[in-house]
């Protein structure tokens, strides 16, 4: 080390002060920070609902909440977490912040649309909060008809409109990314020199623009049924509620890949950086992102095996569902091969990446049980399903998101957080997560159905384990809030490239200036060029 790094004098954070300079900004980095604050608040809210659910389930009797209240708790947990946290999480925060510097651009292609997407997100959240304060909603985050159209007497319309509106925010983000990646790349930055993070976000954006409109029209059809008494899915007039499920899952299955693909992009960056090696099988990892995006659209009806779809189509959907395992496995094996003989170090982002491997593996493999028609009949609507998708959406997507947040935090704010506390939190999250959700596999297999507030006595031990794990997980999630806030003022100054990573975004100051690059960069090299020399130097740091 030559001398201690200093913060740059001018950067995007001090370029303009006051609320107005933030609310009217067109800078993708500031918009990302506002997304970060917004979705962190939503995550906290969703976490509180999850806490309420776990608290109720500590005892077999439904003693804490009435059944109706419990229904609202898990519904609002799901709605908040899916529509207002997981869908925007990695793309809207890290993608927004990092894609322009990663491809050598000054901003996204449509900065005003980017700001608009944030306002739309807030508007959607406002609808949700209205529903919340008006008494909540109890349909489950899936809004299944005819319950949502005619039977439920809770605030379905504002909640559904909240999801509908925030969907447009997601579409606009995806559209912006697609155009940016196509049209804003620096000279010399060909498609196969792009960071895998960018490839993953490209695939994610495809799902956002292809899937979200379908759930939007589906919500509109529920809306006209509920608001005007129209009949489209109404069985009393000959409508088919299963049609709703088809349309809903056409989006909502790929939506899982909106959550997991960006996390996979993050993991690719982290793994390569902390094993000081170029990624193994770059083009396979890149194309597997696209393959996941495309395959994700042909498998949706595995959510509906017991809903009354035809036996033959169930067989076909079951078979097709296995196809998603192929690109997922390609990624996992390539990450493992990247680690092989690497100069691995265990900073916090890498711990999260390791956590991701374990949890994603379990989540992915249990997905195969559920894709299998025969076993799904037994496991459908049990805690096995709940556990499976939490392993993917929390164990996979949130581990990736947090890993990315720790990895790029020095770039976001220019300062380091406490390495000790952050390692503790990574371990707490991993342990707490497994303690929460592994017992749920067993519970589900034994036949405990989801969405009930009471259960037979013999399930209590495992449920208490799960609730205890939720407590540990909660602490693991709260710790970063503390040390991230602490780092803002007191953290050690990070310098442009604290990890010795190779991407373009690490060559500009931390925090970056508003225009990212003083001069248009030109790219000559391949991605992930970690020479032994770089590795040695980085290890010294």
């Amino acid at each position: 080390m030559l001398d201690t790094p200093k913060l740059p004098e001018r950067h995007y954070l001090n370029n303009g002060h006051g609320l107005k300079s933030w609310l009217l900004t067109k800078d993708h980095k500031r918009i990302a920070i506002m997304y970060l604050i917004s979705i962190s608040a939503m995550f906290l809210l969703g976490g509180l609902f999850a806490g309420a659910v776990r608290l109720e389930l500590m005892t077999p009797e439904g003693d804490l909440f009435l059944a109706d209240t419990y229904n609202k708790m898990f519904t609002m947990h799901g709605v908040v977490m899916v529509f207002f946290f997981l869908i925007p999480s990695t793309p809207a925060v890290l993608g927004n912040f990092l894609i322009p510097p990663m491809i050598g651009a000054k901003d996204l292609a449509f900065p005003r649309i980017n700001l608009l997407s944030l306002y739309i997100f807030w508007l959607g959240a406002a609808f949700f909060f209205y529903a919340l304060f008006a008494g909540g909603v109890d349909t489950g985050w899936t809004f299944y008809t005819p319950f949502s159209s005619f039977s439920s007497n809770t605030n379905v319309i504002p909640t559904a409109l909240g999801a509908f509106i925030s969907g447009f925010s997601s579409i606009l983000t995806g559209l912006n990314f697609i155009v940016t990646i196509h049209r804003m790349r620096a000279p010399g930055l060909t498609w196969f020199r792009l960071p895998l993070f960018v490839w993953a976000h490209y695939a994610t954006s495809l799902i956002q623009v292809l899937g979200t409109p379908v759930v939007a029209i589906t919500i509109i059809m529920v809306f006209v049924e509920r608001a005007f008494g129209f009949g489209i899915f109404d069985p009393t007039r000959g409508g088919d509620p299963v049609l709703f499920q088809h349309l809903f899952w056409f989006y909502s299955h790929p939506a899982v890949y909106i959550m997991i693909l960006p996390a996979m992009g993050v993991i690719s960056e982290i793994v390569s950086t902390f094993s000081r090696k170029t990624i193994f099988g770059y083009s396979f990892v890149a194309f597997s992102s696209l393959a996941i995006a495309v395959f994700g659209f042909i498998v949706w009806a595995h959510h509906m095996f017991v809903a009354g779809i035809s036996t033959y189509s169930a067989l076909v959907f079951s078979f097709l569902s296995f196809s998603v395992a192929i690109p997922s496995a390609v990624k996992t094996f390539n990450w493992a091969a990247t680690l092989y003989k690497g100069a691995i170090s265990f900073e916090t982002p890498m711990l999260y990446a390791y956590g991701f491997f374990g949890l994603f593996l379990i989540g992915g493999l249990t997905g195969l049980f559920l894709a299998t028609l025969g076993t799904d009949i037994h496991l459908h609507d049990t805690y096995f399903v709940v556990s499976h998708f939490h392993y993917i959406m929390v164990g996979g997507a949130i581990m990736g998101y947090l890993g990315g947040l720790h990895f790029w935090w020095p770039k976001l704010v220019g300062r380091m957080y406490s390495e000790f506390l952050s390692r503790v939190s990574a371990i707490l999250v991993f342990v707490g997560f497994n303690l929460t959700f592994f017992p749920q596999f067993i519970l589900g297999y034994m036949g405990m159905p989801r969405r009930y507030h009471a259960y037979p006595d013999e399930f209590q031990v495992l449920n208490i384990l799960s609730s205890a794990g939720a407590g540990v997980l909660g602490i693991g999630y709260l710790l970063p809030v503390i040390y991230f806030l602490w780092s803002l003022k007191r953290g050690e100054v990070a310098g442009p490239n604290p990890w010795g990573a190779s991407g373009l975004e690490w060559q500009i100051p931390s925090p970056p200036p508003t225009e990212n690059f003083k001069v248009q960069p030109v790219v000559h090299g391949e991605p992930y060029e970690y020479t032994p020399h770089v590795a040695r130097e980085a290890n010294l740091v």
Binding site: L210, L243, F250, I298, I309, S310, T311, Y312
Partner: protein, 101 residues
Amino acid sequence: MSGHVSPKSLYYSIFGALMVLTAITVFAAYVNLGAMNAPIALAIATFKATLVVLFFMHVRYSSRLTKLVVVTSLFFLAILLGEMMMDYASRGMGVVLPTLQ
């Protein structure tokens, strides 16, 4: 930077073709063609849509990327419609289990 400028006459002839095709659609609806009424109406509509996309929307003269976006939208629309049709078309066709002796 003005892109491709089509002659006015092209636009007028496309307009004429679209009007004639609309008239044919209405006319065909009044003729009993049995099961063929709907497919013919949809085929004419698709032909009209193709004319609009190729000439009014300039896709014929657009970049490969624009064409790719158009094809992508149709591809995923086909997945959406096709897989749902697969379910509805095979409803009620039960798998006959072998009876145990």
